[in-house]
Amino acid sequence: MLGEVLLAGMFSVIPVSHHANATRKYEIQTAIFSSRGYENFIPEELYFPEEGNKLLQMESKTSTQKNFNNNSDKLLTAFKCLISDLRIGFDEEIDYFDFLFNLSEEEDYNSFLWQANLDGNLKVCSAISIFLSQKDYSAITAQEENFIIAMLKSGNVQIQSIALTAILNWDEVSDINYLKSIKIDNDFLQEDLTEFIEHKA
């Protein structure tokens, strides 16, 4: 009985198209490895996460600054591939959290955030903002907070909405006065932002 319950639980969260997603994840891992200079990787290496982590750790020690932006570009491309197959929404199963969580422990992460901000892709920016909105403020870095502030100033109401959700979820921000200069072109969201500023002032 317990087995049935567990199995039901397991399958209820596996997307119907998980085979397609598995293929896509394989492609993404390939992109991550190639971004670190493993263009001639042995495919089997990708199937063993522990081995892959060893390779990443070894590589990170010898990582050269010259390929820094190039790497984050490739990571950004890999991330775009991932989210193009996934729906983004608060009520959806959010598979890309794993990718971002793992990436957030890599040294390319800040550069990735910077590239994502420059690139301005709606889905990418939304996905990163949703990921950050789920973290506690105590775990948010200055670069992550800057990313959310940049999104709040983006001028795109949809992204501004998610960035505002992050700030409301954190219930904290390092510079409350700076928020006063930000305008959102939607009455409801502007009202939420103003209420937050007043509450914190």
Binding site: G9, V13, I14, Y47, F90, Q160, L168, N186, F188
Partner: protein, 196 residues
């Protein structure tokens, strides 16, 4: 006065003072697609008998949250307006909530077409672009308050804890060993999927 209530993605809709959207033909495709994610040509609605029940029904929505969201908004439609212009069906079995009491409040707006969705869109646009109607028919829900309401229902044994969303379980300290075991199994299954 009774209302039918729905969660609304408010950022998708024309801002409060924008009078360029008096014609729904100007609504963006994203707004229509994201707001009206129909299934079987039906949309989910929840009936409340009066406006004072709004926080309670807000808790009903919150009970299924998988992820954190500090606030969200609900739109209220006068029951008679919807009943007169759309086909309604009382569908407690389709209620997606962990609070048992509210299952009986669930309705489906059925047999929706391009035309009827357009009518619904025009009603929502009217509410979001008129200051007076906006205040009357669009209500903000504070998730922290919702969590307190859910917890009170839980103490009264009115909550099906298995149906609580992951975020709600975490906030109410209800994550069980079984939940953690299922999460572990999910991770193992993911690794197995990768290795095939």
């Amino acid at each position: 006065m009774a209302f039918l209530v729905r969660k609304i993605n408010i950022e998708q809709w024309p801002k409060g003072t924008n009078k360029d959207f008096t014609c729904i033909e100007n609504l963006s495709a994203d707004t229509i697609i994201k707001e009206f994610n129909t299934s079987g040509n039906a949309l989910s609605l929840w009936k409340i008998e009066n406006e004072s029940e709004i926080k309670e029904i807000g808790a009903s929505f919150t009970s299924r949250f998988k992820t954190k969201q500090a606030v969200f908004r609900l739109i209220l439609f006068p029951y008679e307006l919807i009943d007169k212009n759309f086909q309604l069906e009382h569908t407690p079995k389709n209620a997606d909530t962990a609070i048992r009491k509210f299952r009986n409040c669930h309705y489906d707006m059925c047999n929706l077409t391009y035309g009827s969705l357009g009518l619904l869109a025009s009603i929502i646009t009217k509410y979001t672009t008129d200051t007076e109607l906006k205040d009357k028919y669009i209500k903000k829900i504070d998730v922290k308050e919702s969590l307190q309401i859910i917890d009170a229902y839980r103490l009264d044994k009115e909550v099906d804890e298995n149906l609580l969303g992951r975020y709600v379980k975490k906030e109410l300290g209800l994550e069980t060993d079984k939940d953690r075991e299922i999460a572990d199994l999910e991770n193992k299954l993911k690794k197995l999927t990768k290795s095939k």
